[in-house]
């Protein structure tokens, strides 16, 4: 199915957002760009599945997210025999909170669990609503709000922001 010029332009305009979202999930620029490439190819070849009139960014983010977590689950299964070390490395918060009080935002952000990173990115930076984020993550709106709340709370702890400064 051919993509109209307008749709093509809209997809291209979203590439920068895809990169930012991918990096927030993957935490690595190279891997993020691989994810973006894969997402664009999937979107391009299955554009007939895009429901016209809906939010293309949300659709693209859904493809990217599914691609990322599919790979994430596969990699986690592959290393499960090693005492789940890969999963622990990905989701375990840092042990030495004091040392992290001064780390910069991006380092602190990377310590968040993937579900919190994506929720915070979707509603806090990418311009999507809680409802759109919930649809992308295939969870309830309340779950997204809860993840965002926990992520913000954790970041405030790590960055040493006081509650007054954060609210």
């Amino acid at each position: 199915m051919a993509i109209s010029d307008a749709e093509q332009a809209e997809l291209m305009e979203n590439v920068s957002h895809l990169r930012a979202f991918a990096q927030s999930l993957a935490g690595d620029a190279s891997r993020a760009d691989d994810l973006v490439q894969e997402t664009i190819l999937k979107a391009w070849t299955s554009f007939d599945k895009f429901e016209r009139g809906t939010n293309m960014r949300a659709w693209l983010f859904t493809i990217l997210r599914n691609t990322y977590f599919s790979e994430f689950r596969k990699r986690r299964r592959e290393v499960e025999d090693v005492d789940g070390q890969f999963a622990a490395q990905v989701v375990q918060p840092p042990q030495q909170q004091g040392m992290l009080a001064r780390v910069d935002f991006e380092q602190a952000f990377k310590t968040l669990p993937p579900d919190q990173r994506e929720a915070l990115t979707l509603v806090g930076a990418s311009g999507l609503s809680y409802e759109e984020a919930a649809k992308i993550c295939d969870v309830a709106v309340g779950t997204v709000k809860s993840r965002v709340g926990r992520a913000r709370e954790r970041l405030n702890e790590l960055l040493g922001n006081s509650e007054d400064a954060a609210t």
Binding site: E106, T121, R152, N156
Partner: protein
């Protein structure tokens, strides 16, 4: 945030003003979004656009 048109305060929702977390999050997001595309990705987009026309 687009889901709070009435400005109703939600316990988990960032305020309309840019608190430290929101500000840093948006800065980090934009810094990535504003980076030039890598050659490989640019090439892919050109190929797709060329193939579609």
């Amino acid at each position: 945030m687009a889901d709070n048109p009435e400005g109703k305060k939600d316990e988990n929702e960032p305020p309309a003003g840019a608190d430290p977390i929101t500000r840093q999050l948006r800065d980090a997001y934009q810094s990535v979004a504003n980076e030039p595309l890598p050659d490989e990705l640019s090439s892919l987009l050109e190929r797709l656009k060329g193939g579609n026309g």
